[in-house]
Amino acid sequence: MLLIPCPWCGPRDEAEFHYGGQAHVPYPEDPASLSDEEWARYLFFRDNPKGPFAERWSHAAGCRRWFNAVRDTATNEVLAVYRAGEERPATLEPRPVLSAGSGAAAPEGARGTARPAPTHPQLNDNPRGGAGGEATQPFRHPTRGRIHRDTPLTFTFDGTEYQGYRGDTLASALLAGGVIQAGTSIKLGRPRGIFSAGVEEPNAVIQIEEPFPEPMLPATTVELYDGLVASSLPGQGRLATTPDPARYDAVHAHCDLLIVGAGPAGLAAAAAAARSGARVILADDQPEPGGSLLGTAEHLDWVREVTAQLDAAPEVRVLPRTTVFGYYDDNHLLAVERRTNHLGADAPENVSRERVWRIRARRVVLATGAHERSLAFANNDRPGVMLASSARTHVNRHGVLPGRHAVVFTTNDSAYAAALDLASAGLAVTAIVDTRPEPGEWAERARAAGIEVLPGHAVTGTEGGDARLTAVTVAPHGESAGQREFAADLLLVSGGWNPVAHLFSQSGGKLRYDETLGSFVPDTCRQQVEVAGSASGVLDQATVLAQGAAAGARAVEAEGYTPETPRLPEVPAQPRQTPPMHVYVVPGATDGPCFVDLQRDVTVDDLAIATGAGLRSVEHTKRYTTAGTANDQGKTSGVLASGVVAELLGVDISALGTTTFRPPYTPVSFAALAGRDRGALSDPVRTTAIHEWHVAHGALFENVGQWKRPWYYPQDGEDMEAAVLRECAATRESVGFMDASTLGKIDVQGPDAGVFLDRLYTNMMSTLKVGMIRYGVMCRPDGMVFDDGTVIRVAPDRFLVTTTTGNAAAVLDWMEEWLQTEWPELKVHCTSVTEQWATVALVGPKSREVLASLAPQLAVANDDFPFMAWRETTVAGIEARVCRISFSGELAFEINVSPWQGLALWEAVYEAGAPYGITPYGTETMHVLRAEKGYPIIGQDTDGTVTPQDLGMSWVVSKKKPDFIGKRSYARADTSRPDRKHLVGLLPEGPGTFLPEGTHLIAEGVLPTPPVPMLGHVTSSYRSAALGRTFALALIKGGRDRIGERLYAPVGDQLVPVTVASPVLYDPEGARRDG
């Protein structure tokens, strides 16, 4: 959603504006002097540059002013706005490209030297109660974790009942119960296990069955609740078949600073900004702040301290369980908050289950962290293969050991910290397999803890059954000889780290390859965004914290607030780092598929087929193999796939890049996106002041734009045909009435009102006398009919224009565009007054009697109150403006009153008409009555390619006026072709034969071989009570010259013979108009 600065109202959402095309294309001074080609150039040709482009915009939902904007068509950046009539600004600079991070140095003292890890693996002692559940939860750790051991929960998975605790995820509770296999793969049906502890999960994607069915949720993100029933999936879920009973909503939010991610960097940023007075939103997808610190159980006291500080800051809003999933133009970000999902059946009914946050942020700090990368080795998909840091998270957050005996396979230092922590928690770490020949200080530390380290080695295969891994095969890296086998039920993998650059990339930011990290990191962006912490590629904890604090401080400072220097936790000195090794595919002797994308079952061999077929870009291999297209969007596999393809092509990964990151970051339900815009609130329903009477009298309604208009009023089991024939007959024979309040009404006021309307309408309006009414047609500059309606002259400088029901807003926009951009010298103002009036059309030969009885002061005789005149009077005691106009050919009056009295008028008319059997009628009868008279409906009988002359209405096109919109186009060769389509009547041969609207017409009675020459089509088709037969209106090539001809209409398998007739089929002499 762009933020467009209205020159009057300031920045507003793009949705408030209408686009008006290229600016500075003035209406020619003398269109008549232009050649057809020059005129066509004005009508149809516009520039289409890449880069800055001057355009017209209207602040349609705001101040209704037209203005000009220079927009860069390549970046969508609005470079300048200026008022109509002003010159285009000369030089325009785009926003500068900003670095994703500041590179500011971390403060002294907070600086560490190595990877995040506790020097002494520490117990995360659980304060919330004793151990328990050992019998049913054999893998539950006695003390660790942030689970609420005093709140046991029961849940069912694949039909078996299990126990867990509040604070578990479904995945961690399954692990506690000894279940790691949580599904089978989509193509190969291979058993798959819980692979991670977060949103990156590719394997354990499950179906919730109760309380409400929901497909394809990563078990690692489902918070456990009592009574949860879930089942594993074969890679694909099932949609619910019953309507979702939950509520969903949205909130618009604005802030100076949005921080995405409440890990160490995000919390540090928030702490720096919290007490500055700036409006801060901190959004995080977990139930509690802390991010990676919750997984490593470090600095949790600092997390608590900052959280309390944020809770106390009045302008800070912390949004837990909130995933920012989309980053759009002008710092507009969308997030989804899961509000009651975790409560299961206890969710309160009046609270929305999920909420979409539409956040407009002055500045953004992305502290989205990093995802651990996997490695491609043989049979790397067995249940029991897990990301190393995720295993640590399961232990420290959920108090669950994912296995008993682990082998660790790594290319970098970070897995050592995980291994040591897990070992201290009681997991037997048999060996650490490191591809690096000299793993350095971390390896020393592991050996000191009694763990065997195999430098320069790699895992080449796995063994195991369906349920779980049993053994791991290891060999010197790159060799097949010297294999060793380790018994293990867990293989912890770390292939390095990928910064979570999704949102940065969505914002338009560019990524660059980071040689040290072996992955892609945020580089530059045009939006006001900074990336802090491991999302920027920094993994050292002290730097992460310092970067976050600095980014938060810079952001609020730039918005004019004074940040503070937050207290950051002391990070103890770390072992000296050894650079990671960049490995993607692990060569090995063992046969077996090496999976890259687990969720799509894409292997290294599949990618080799793709490159073998000649594909050279990761975008192409993605589409060829589907790698990265599953609902995890390749979070663990994307960079791995790039690395594999680079190896296959023999190029550097930096040259390949990644595939494009698109919203949403994680799947978002349609229900959440729809919010409350569904069911009865999916679109506004407009009703007139008389609506409830129509409802009470059994009307069926027709949607006309957003209006509900009475369609017909069936009585005593009538079908539509019978009801409409009855309504038509009653109106033509006696009197009917209809609610015509929906017609658009525009007050046009000012000394130049007449001149203005002369330019807009094809006919002359300035000569209309006060007290009189004229029908008019408005065309586009290309000469095609745009709208029609009546014009009332209220006073010398005041007119009331009516428009068709569906076109009211468009006509007002149209008037304002010409007035503001082309004719600012005209002293005239246009104002919508559609709702200022309720209108009752009183129609039929007895209408005069009914009106006379209600308006005793009004002289209703034809001479006193002639056709196309209006009078002010009281009708049924209500102040009214009565117009003698007719859309049926019958004597008719339109009575306009305040809508506050509309229902009273309607009821009075109904009562006064009772002696004449007055009949309410709807839009269908109105359509039949007008069609019998050949009156077109703009938008039904026209489609933007029809001139007034095509409609047989040359009489409405002035020959006297020097110019009006559309006039020049009537001199174009195209508009005077003899084979233009004309509006004509059609009479099917059988008086009961009905032609569906849209039916084509052909000349021959035998269907020729295609292509069949088409002469035109049916635009309106009805059964007429007055004619006692069916009839239609149609646009037919050269139609007026074909009157009397026989044509054929293919209807189903039949060719229906029809006769072309004048469009005026009823009362062609107009005898009924005056009663």
């Binding site: 109202c9 101040c63 949205a250 618009h252 815009d677 609130l681 506004p684 409830e692 009075a908 009562e911």
Partner: protein, 200 residues
Amino acid sequence: MADTALTAPLRSPLSHVAGRLAAATHASGGAIRLAELPFLAQLNVRLDAKGAAAEAVGLALDLQLPLQPNTVVRAGELTALWLGPDEWLLVGPPGSERDLESRIREAAGDEPVSVIDVSAQRTTLLVTGPRAHDLLAHGCPLDLHPRVFGSGRCAQTTLGRTQIVLVARDEPRAGFWVLVRSTFAGYLADWLLDAATEYL
């Protein structure tokens, strides 16, 4: 029969939902107050802000038309809303529209002004209470923070899927006026009542 309507009371666009608005107000325990303010006099005034008419009209009404975009000026029972650089909405007590119109026309004299009675074009919803901001934020894209949209501010914008004129009332805690086209009022009332469910 002609006098059946003479005694008929005026019906406002939201008269049929008055009970539901009151019930929601009651159920919210003071968190939110929703009510229609029917039949307010509303005049659309168009004139050259720099011309002689502006000053004359200001004097006649004892109220200076606001020149700052998206602001209101209040004087006595009248409120003038900026709608555009040459357009204002003058809001007064029910029934005062004729008197106001003639005062403006008289004051303007021969200067070109447009005055249009639009009292029935929109109706006014009162949205107040401690959760009024939160309620409107469900569907209004504007920043309604008191620092940004405080007393004296108004805006033409959208709420839910309809256009509105939003006015911050004169005291910070007094909430908002939501002016909505009469034929959209039923939709908007339903929308507000649905959005308010969480606060009830």
